[in-house]
């Protein structure tokens, strides 16, 4: 029963990728044909071809994703501590403001912000894109860390201090290891949000910062199904691999991610 359920889940996850695998190797494939009339390696070549911007896109997406993940966690960690540990006046307001960027459509926000970014010289640059992508990611990081801190027994930190650890080493040797599952979840979540972000990257990057989603949309726009399939696979697979690699880092208590680790 359990096995059947897992199999079903796996099928649901991987089956939509199957047509992509077919498309990526198919050349001409017209209406009445059941199968492509000829096969091509163009899709695969595209991935390794230095003249196309695919490899560069992969690199750009990775760099932006890592930077966004790092900064969002650095901001979300102390914010989450305040939200999870302290009962202060206006806590609910702060919580709502944190979630506001998630509720308001990104397109509207990005359009408004673009004006300022152009004035500040941040448009059309990787740093501008990283900055704007903090908006949809910091709320998630703060929320994940908020929940983690709410469950943290701060007496561990007090104990560490009586054992001679100052504030910095208490953070590094006690708090961070205790919150490791939350850190992994927050880092993954923010990376994935950044990885699949399209609208904000297009508006703030001004078409100069070419992440994988941008290349993918361009390929779809030009009806090049082979290139689109190749890029789609490239967008989908790294996050999947990343999730599987990270799963063992999560302890058994951290709920939803456990399933991935057992696959």
């Amino acid at each position: 029963m359990r096995r059947a359920f897992l199999g079903l889940l796996l099928a649901g996850l991987l089956l939509p990728l199957l047509p992509l695998l077919v498309w990526v190797v198919s050349g001409t494939w017209r209406y009445p044909d059941l199968l492509p009339s000829d096969l091509t390696t163009r899709g695969l070549n595209l991935l390794g071809d230095r003249r196309t911007p695919v490899l560069e896109g992969l690199l750009t997406s990775t760099v932006i994703g890592a930077a966004v993940s790092l900064v969002a966690c650095l901001i979300g960690f102390p914010a989450g501590r305040a939200l999870g540990l302290y009962r202060f006046r206006g806590r609910r307001v702060v919580q709502f403001l944190l979630l506001a960027p998630v509720i308001v459509p990104g397109l509207a926000v990005a359009l408004g912000i673009q004006v300022f970014f152009v004035r500040l010289g941040l448009s059309d640059s990787v740093s501008g894109v990283v900055l704007v992508q903090l908006m949809p990611t910091v709320p998630y990081a703060a929320t994940v860390f908020g929940a983690a801190f709410a469950n943290l027994d701060v007496d561990y930190e007090r104990q560490a201090r009586t054992l001679g650890a100052g504030p910095v080493r208490t953070l590094l040797f006690v708090t961070v290891p205790l919150l490791r599952p939350a850190i992994v979840v927050a880092a993954l979540l923010t990376f994935l949000i950044s990885w699949s972000e399209y609208v904000m990257t297009l508006l703030i990057g001004g078409g100069q910062v070419k992440t994988l989603p941008l290349l993918l949309f361009a390929a779809i726009g030009s009806s090049d199904t082979t290139a689109a399939a190749a890029l789609a696979l490239l967008v989908v697979l790294p996050p999947l691999l990343l999730l599987m690699a990270a799963a063992p880092l999560l302890s058994g208590r951290s709920g939803a991610m456990v399933g991935v680790g057992r696959l």
Binding site: D153, D155, Y156, R158, Q159, A160, R161, T162, L163, G164, A165, G166, R169, F173, V174, P177, L178, R180
Partner: protein, 348 residues
């Protein structure tokens, strides 16, 4: 290194509207094992937090060997704290937990592992060094917590109800372990407990705290024989109280018992422990007449309730085997040496 001389000087600590510690002064001599005893919520744990540096007093001073440590942060004080929860770091092994403080003190790896092994021997857990923390029993957890604190050779050891979550048999063993570890290292130890039996059993001296104040400080025996206050007497299980008044150097209870005293004139209360009262055959100067209303077998003695006036009952402990008839008239003897008098305000 031997234990430090610890002094709390006129310390006050408030949390919002509640006064947790109220002008407390307490001196713990070097190398002693002192129990800080009191009902829950009396400020014992706050006092330990103040000593450990995890809380700051609103006023007053905390001194170690005569030098104020208020400006010293918790991580630099020569003070170790073990609390009710073991608080072992779940991401570290037993040995790594014990070595945590040494690592923070930048003791090199070889020396560290030697000291950790020695310490685990002293708490009788050498075989558990490589275990994960989650696999330990409650008693083992507290032993590891003790080892983790003591391996740093602190000059003051603070124990905040460390065994209150363990079952009775284990608690007795752990008290003996604390006693032994203390005697070996002579670290000044302050042991917080709300259980007077535990305090009497483990400690050299007892400091009794009530409502944020020191209600008495002395050897365990004193609290039984000469309780420093009415509240202290009650906390140590004195149930027999005779109200009366003092006039011209003589206390006279409402039931007619008199006793010389140097208390000033006014209301006073005489207290006497049940185990110091006797049932005698003849009326005498120190006796009261009463009627037996109840008798309970209590293992080592029989507790007999004697009504001496309507609504006032005294309890006497009499030897097992004595014949007691319910409803019979008896004479209760209160030897003057067993009686303590408290004037207005509950002071002796």
């Amino acid at each position: 290194m031997t234990g430090a001389d610890v002094a709390i000087v006129q310390v006050t600590k408030r949390f919002g509207a509640t006064l947790a510690v109220d002008d407390l002064s307490l001196r713990v001599p070097p190398g002693s094992l002192t129990a800080l005893l009191g009902p829950s919520g009396c400020g014992k744990s706050t006092t330990l937090s103040l000593l450990a540096g995890l809380q700051h007093p609103d006023s007053g001073d905390v001194r170690v060997d005569g030098i104020s440590v208020l400006a010293v942060p918790a991580e630099r004080r020569p003070v170790a704290l073990v609390v009710q929860k073991p608080l072992l770091f779940p991401h570290l092994s037993v040995a790594q937990n014990v070595g945590f403080g040494l690592r923070m003190a930048r003791v090199d790896r070889r020396r560290r592992s030697r000291l950790v092994a020695e310490m685990l021997d002293r708490v009788q857990l050498p075989e558990l060094a490589d275990r994960r923390v989650g696999e330990l029993s409650g008693g083992q957890e507290q032993r590891v917590a003790l080892a983790r604190a003591l391996v740093l050779q602190p000059r003051v050891l603070l124990l905040d109800e460390p065994f209150s979550q363990l079952d009775t048999g284990l608690r007795v063993q752990m008290r003996a372990l604390v006693r032994r570890l203390h005697d070996e290292s002579e670290v000044t130890t302050l042991f917080v407990t709300h259980d007077q039996v535990e305090a009497v059993e483990v400690a050299d001296t007892i400091a009794l705290m009530q409502e944020g104040r020191l209600a008495g400080h002395g050897e365990p025996e004193t609290f039984y024989q000469r309780p420093p206050s009415l509240a202290a007497a009650r906390f140590f299980g004195v149930t027999n109280e005779l109200p009366g008044c003092v006039q011209g150097g003589r206390f006279c209870s409402r039931t007619g018992l008199t006793l010389p005293t140097d208390l000033p004139n006014g209301e006073a209360v005489l207290v006497v422990r049940p185990d110091r009262m006797e049932m005698v055959d003849h009326r005498g100067p120190d006796t009261l007449d009463g009627v037996v209303t109840a008798a309970r077998f209590a293992g080592s003695h029989i507790a007999v309730d004697v009504e001496i006036e309507p609504g006032r009952t005294l309890t006497a402990h009499v030897p097992v085997g004595a014949t007691i008839a319910l409803g019979s008239g008896v004479h209760l003897c209160l030897p003057p040496s067993a009686c303590t008098l408290f004037g207005a305000g509950g002071r002796a």
